[in-house]
């Protein structure tokens, strides 16, 4: 059995090595494009019905895409861009509700329920042993 375990570790290590060494090379312009896609995928197109800016072809979405790419080229970080957009359009525009005073319950309530559920189940199982 021991040799098997060892061989697993060897395979693991091998693959990790391959993974680390296989970094792709990307040109700056494609980086901006990819980053823009990543950002716009998390933004709501305000004039559409349930579409992201990335998916939409509306005038609003198109101008937003240009704007964001421009901001990236100006050296702004993702967080800065999100922040300025939220200031301008409100929290409605970002699909990630983030953690704030208003959304605290949104994030914690499901987790709390999970813990309660776990407690109930543990009690149920352990009760009669």
């Amino acid at each position: 059995m021991k040799s098997k375990k060892l061989s697993i570790i060897k395979i693991l290590l091998y693959f990790l090595l391959v993974l680390i060494s296989s970094k792709g090379i990307a040109t700056p312009s494609t980086i901006y494009e990819e980053q823009t896609i990543n950002i716009t995928k998390n933004l709501r197109c305000l004039i559409c019905q349930g579409q992201t800016i990335h998916e939409s072809n509306s005038d609003f979405a198109e101008s937003m895409k240009k704007y964001i790419q421009g901001e990236l080229k100006n050296g702004k970080t993702n967080d800065e861009i999100f922040k300025s957009l939220v200031e301008k359009y409100g929290q409605w525009i970002v699909y990630d509700p983030g953690i704030s005073k208003n959304t605290l319950l949104l994030w914690t309530l499901p987790l709390l329920l999970f813990l309660i559920g776990g407690a109930i189940i543990t009690r149920k199982i352990l009760k009669k042993i």
Partner: protein
């Protein structure tokens, strides 16, 4: 002519009072179903002949539409879809009564009673707020037409299939309350009700699948699930049905979790009512919201609260008196596995529920608008999926009552194959995130463990298929989301661009005229890495009634990836906006869902076989 049918409908309402007392319930319920059926058929007929004296037809149909879309237009609107709701509601009751001939008369009567409460509620709702047979005067010559994005074959049959599952949960609710009162929650009840749970579950799964396929090719951006509130609303009953399915098996085999099964039955139907409320009230902004009318929302909300309160009262009164848990649960047993399954599924359910309704409450109470989108669901669901699939992998090998685990050579082999597969996949898609790796390990482990069940002596095909399907679904979704590639270009006819090793050439444009729309068709040639030519023909359709442009994707499906292209006109410019995508393993998302459904069908079949013996 049509108003006669409404009258008949209301007369059926009165009949239900007789229903409860009378011994010949089946006949009366058949009668009720028959009348709803006639109303439904006559509405379809009004749509077919384009009877524009009917308000619903006028608002949602047009003479130039193809016959198929005239028919599907019947339920492509608020009023018609509610009539469909009623049809299914009365239909499942009829089915239940016919199927339950050998069961206690008290139980059948009580089920009918509870079900009739729901039926009356919806009858009143239809008649008061959304009568499909309202007349308009003067009679119009032409209708306003159906929303073009609803004019699609998959979406044509999506509502009836989905409703069979969605509204089918009502009978589970009624039967659960009835069996609780008549002290009938036991093995044989579990066996019987399992049919209806499976029935709803299969149709709901199929309905969701159809909706996703439609979203994929019709909405034009290549996604199939966006955690849109309306999608969530269909997922929630599905989750609780899935939990219920596992729970009811435990009840059947071990007479355990009686109260919990009943609670799940109630939750399931309550969720489908919540869904109806959210979608029909117009609170949500989506293609499913046909009209915005607050009175409808208030009605459903009140009705929902009444039903929940009713079931709560019944539950409190009949709960502990009747069921005392006699058998104990061992830690290593299938019972524990089912509990863990329910625990996780209910957690996922709570994430979806809270994510869907929290923004509404926040808006109402604090007047603040937030969007809860994919990032929220991903963060709260994905980490929990890993332990969930691990439990799901081990669960089926557990035995009822008590299991003795042996870790043999085979377990190691399974783990090694899992690791190799996961690392290869990760390497192949070039993803370096350790979390993604863990997800793949979990999913592949589930896949192999599920397939391994084939080697067992006693095979449970229902479980093997649905679990295998589920693991394949997770793997394909994960692969799809990590290795999708896309490029968006604004180009003119004759120009070309490249994605990876492929060249996309914009050949020409033609314009064709159909009866109810005009279409601009782009001809594209794709040269793949082996220089093979693939032709794609995306369209822009400009519908005349109502006037609206839609973009029709052109998709070339292969075993490992879909090539997906859409075009759009750019205002005042002579070039086109072209979006070309590689969507890997798309077909596997559909196939694996079909495998899941197949598992459900096996379960129904298996049940029948047992009854025969």
């Amino acid at each position: 002519m049509t108003s006669i049918f409404i009258f008949l409908n209301s007369s059926v309402q009165i009949k239900r009072n007789v229903t409860v007392v009378s011994g010949k319930i089946a006949g009366l319920i058949g009668f009720q179903f028959f009348f709803v059926f006639i109303s439904f058929i006559s509405l379809i007929y009004s749509f077919i002949i384009s009877d524009f004296s009917n308000e619903t037809v006028y608002n949602n149909s047009h003479t130039t539409k193809p016959l198929f879309y005239k028919i599907t237009g019947t339920w492509g609107n608020h009023e018609g879809s509610l009539l469909l709701w009623l049809l299914v509601l009365t239909g499942v009751l009829l089915g239940f009564i016919l199927k339950s001939r050998n069961e206690p008369i008290n139980y059948r009567l009580l089920t009918t009673l509870f079900h009739q409460i729901i039926v009356i509620g919806f009858f009143v709702f239809v008649l008061k707020t959304s009568n499909p047979f309202n007349e308009i005067f003067p009679v119009q010559k032409e209708g306003l037409g159906l929303n073009p994005i609803l004019q699609d074959p998959a979406l044509g049959i999506h509502p009836p299939i989905l409703y069979l599952g969605y509204v089918g949960t009502s009978i589970i609710f009624s039967a659960a309350l009835a069996s609780m009162i008549s002290n009938n929650v036991n093995k044989s009840w579990a066996k019987k009700i399992k049919f209806w749970i499976l029935f709803s579950w299969i149709f709901l799964t199929a309905g969701i699948l159809l909706g996703s396929i439609w979203a994929y090719y019709e909405l034009g951006w290549g996604g199939f699930w966006f955690w849109d509130p309306v999608e969530n609303v269909s997922l929630m009953p599905w989750l609780s049905l899935t939990a219920l399915l596992h729970c009811v098996v435990t009840l059947e085999k071990r007479e355990l979790f009686k109260n919990w099964t009943v609670v799940l039955c109630i939750i399931t139907f309550a969720l489908s009512m919540v869904g109806t409320f959210l979608v029909r009230s117009g609170i949500l902004n989506s293609v499913h919201t046909f009209a915005n009318d607050p009175s409808r929302g208030i009605f459903i909300l009140t009705f929902l609260l009444v039903l929940v309160l009713l079931s709560f009262v019944i539950f409190v009164f009949y709960e502990n008196k009747n069921f005392v848990q006699k058998s104990e649960i061992f830690t290593l047993s299938k019972e524990t596995a089912v509990l863990i399954n329910n625990w996780f599924i209910l957690y996922f359910l709570s994430v979806v529920l809270i994510g869907t309704i929290y923004p509404i409450f926040l808006d109402v109470i604090l007047d603040e608008q937030i969007s809860v989108g994919p990032p929220f669901y991903n963060k709260l669901i994905l980490p929990f999926l890993i332990p969930f699939v691990l439990f799901m992998s081990i669960g089926p090998s557990m035995k009822w009552i008590k299991t003795n685990f042996r870790i043999g050579l085979k377990s190691f082999l399974v783990i090694i194959i899992t690791l190799i597969l996961s690392f290869m996949t990760i390497y192949f898609i070039g993803e370096k995130n350790i979390f993604v790796l863990l997800l793949f390990i979990g999913f592949f482990y589930l896949l192999i463990k599920s397939l391994d069940q084939f080697s067992k002596k006693t095979k449970n095909f229902a479980q093997i298929f649905s679990h295998t399907g589920f693991s394949l679904l997770l793997i394909s979704i994960l692969l799809n989301s990590f290795s999708s590639k896309e490029i968006v270009k604004n180009i003119k006819v004759g120009e070309s661009f490249a994605l990876k090793n492929e060249k996309i050439i914009f050949k020409k444009i033609t314009i064709e005229k159909e009866n109810n729309y005009e279409s601009i068709i782009g001809f594209f040639e794709i040269l793949d890495e082996k220089n093979k030519i693939i032709n794609l023909k995306p369209e822009i359709r400009i519908y005349n009634e109502p006037e609206m442009a839609t973009s029709e994707a052109s998709i070339k499906t292969s075993l490992f990836k879909d090539r997906f292209i859409t075009i759009n006109i750019i205002k005042d410019q002579n070039f086109f906006n072209v979006r070309y995508q590689h969507k890997p393993f798309m077909i596997w998302i559909w196939i694996s869902t079909l495998i899941i459904i197949l598992g459900g069908i096996f379960a129904i079949f298996r049940k029948n076989k047992e009854v025969n013996i």
